[in-house]
């Protein structure tokens, strides 16, 4: 008599590591997807001197806002791919069926997304800041706000990406439903940089960003996991 072989489900930690490794591998194999959001970031910023004129003072004035708005938009444009490809080839269904609890898998995917999009964006931002004549004293604050803020963008965006994954043309809708939720991150991020330019200590805004990050980290993975289940119904 043969006995059916049941493999035991992997522990949550191993599932997380495996998912993270898989997503990173795929991301690094398709380099264009890796680089496109960054190119969009730099190109988008290059449009502003062309649009409002090359005067350093005016550019420095709008720099904190422009740098942050472009960070929002680059993240938004990259979000559609967070679940889309896995949805198209059926891997997403396997993820929903096999990884228990599902939010662990979602968290791994979000972390991979941030490592591939948010982190490089934060590291690239000093170059973009120079293009807009942001005072050098404010650059560390800019990088710090982006390091704290872009994970929030990825986490909230994962909810939107999960909600729209089953839809044929979800891209624009994703932008519509997520952009209003990004308002606090934009205000606090750009506000901290402006404070740093004016010589005011930006610790308050940074603390707020960190607090929002902690909140979103505890709650959005559940919402995104639930949204994935709804989307795959």
């Amino acid at each position: 008599m043969t006995q059916a072989v049941f493999t035991r489900a992997p522990s949550a930690g191993r599932a997380f590591a495996a998912q993270l490794q898989r997503d990173l591998t795929i991301a690094f194999r398709s380099r264009s997807e890796l680089i496109n959001p960054l190119m969009f970031y730099v190109m988008g910023i290059a449009m502003f001197p062309l649009g409002v004129g090359p005067g350093p003072e005016r550019l420095a004035d709008i720099a904190p806002g422009v740098l942050w708005v472009l960070a929002l938009l680059s993240t938004l444009l990259s979000l559609d791919s967070l679940f889309r490809r896995d949805f198209d080839d059926g891997t997403l269904e396997q993820l929903v069926l096999n990884v228990d609890p599902l939010f662990v898998g979602v968290l791994a995917k979000v972390l991979a997304h941030w490592l591939v999009i948010g982190l490089p964006l934060a590291l690239l931002s000093p170059v973009a800041a120079l293009m807009l004549f942001l005072p050098a004293a404010a650059i560390p604050t800019l990088v710090l706000t982006l390091l704290l803020g872009t994970p929030i963008l990825s986490l909230l965006g994962a909810v939107g990406a999960a909600l729209t994954v089953g839809l044929k043309r979800g891209g624009l809708l994703l932008t519509l439903i997520i952009l209003p939720l990004y308002v606090p991150v934009l205000i606090l991020g750009a506000g901290a940089v402006t404070a740093a330019i004016n010589g005011v200590d930006p610790a308050g805004q940074l603390a707020w960003l960190a607090a929002i990050l902690a909140l979103m980290l505890t709650f959005t993975p559940f919402a995104a996991a639930l949204a994935l289940r709804v989307g795959l119904e």
Binding site: T164, L173, V230
Partner: protein, 250 residues
């Protein structure tokens, strides 16, 4: 406690809710219209003019209730969304569907009356001030919920997707409000606070209070009607709806 539990279980039946909500909706609407009429006549004609703003402050009797309602409506929508996700109550889905456009209209009223008020008072139709901005973002959030619901083809999935978005939005709203308040604000502070007496004389705030309560009653009336309509549309294939329509046609 037992009665509450029974009520909770009964809410699971759209038919029961439809039958019970009709009279409530009419009652709330009548009460609301009376409240709004009394509040507006009292506020527009009888209350004394403001020593600084003259008569232009009187638009407050429209503006403040609409702004309050726009937020209350979103919170109600978020709560209904949570109920739908946790207990899968059909009725909660219909409340989310009905509340979103109503709340969006209140946002628009608040923004329009705010613009009309801002013109003589601040000298401009629009300012990027904290409260104005939060109401605008709130309007965008309503649009998002409505757009998502329309985009998802399956009705049940659409309801749950909209509910998830409404709940996430409800968590984000306090953060949006506080972050927007980081900007120093042109706007006058809240008219009503639970912790302190209003800074206005009673001749001015009493009509406002009546108007706010009238708006609330009106809102519940409209919401109940909208939910009733949702119920009829969703349950159109059931026997009781067919019987109801036939008895009305006769």
């Amino acid at each position: 406690m037992g009665a509450l539990k029974t009520l909770w279980h009964r809410l699971g039946s759209p038919r029961w809710f439809f039958e019970i909500s009709g009279p409530w909706a009419i009652g709330a609407l009548i009460l609301g219209l009376i409240g709004i009429a009394v509040g507006l006549v009292w506020g527009l004609a009888i209350a004394p003019p403001d020593y600084l703003q003259g008569n232009s402050f009187r638009i407050m009797y429209m503006h403040v209730p609409a702004a309050i309602l726009s937020e209350s409506c979103y919170i109600l929508m978020g709560l209904a969304g949570a109920v739908l996700l946790i207990w899968r109550m059909k009725l909660a889905d219909m409340v989310v569907a009905a509340a979103a456009p109503i709340g969006a209209v209140f946002c628009v009223i608040a923004l329009l009356t705010g613009a009309i008020w801002g013109r003589p008072t601040w000298g401009t139709w629009w300012v990027w001030d904290a409260r104005t901005t939060s109401v605008l973002v709130l309007l965008f959030l309503y649009f998002g919920v409505m757009a998502l619901r329309q985009a998802v083809p399956r009705e049940e999935s659409a309801g749950r997707a909209a509910a998830i978005l409404a709940v996430v939005g409800t968590v984000d709203i306090p953060i949006i409000k506080y972050s927007v308040d980081w900007w120093l604000t042109l706007h006058q502070p809240s008219t009503f606070k639970l912790t302190a007496a209003p800074s206005m004389p009673p001749e001015m705030y009493l009509p406002l209070l009546v108007s706010v309560l009238g708006f609330y009653a009106f809102f519940f009336g409209v919401l109940l009607f909208a939910v009733g309509n949702e119920i009829l549309v969703r349950e159109q294939r059931t026997q009781w709806v067919n019987d109801l329509v036939r008895s009305r046609l006769r």
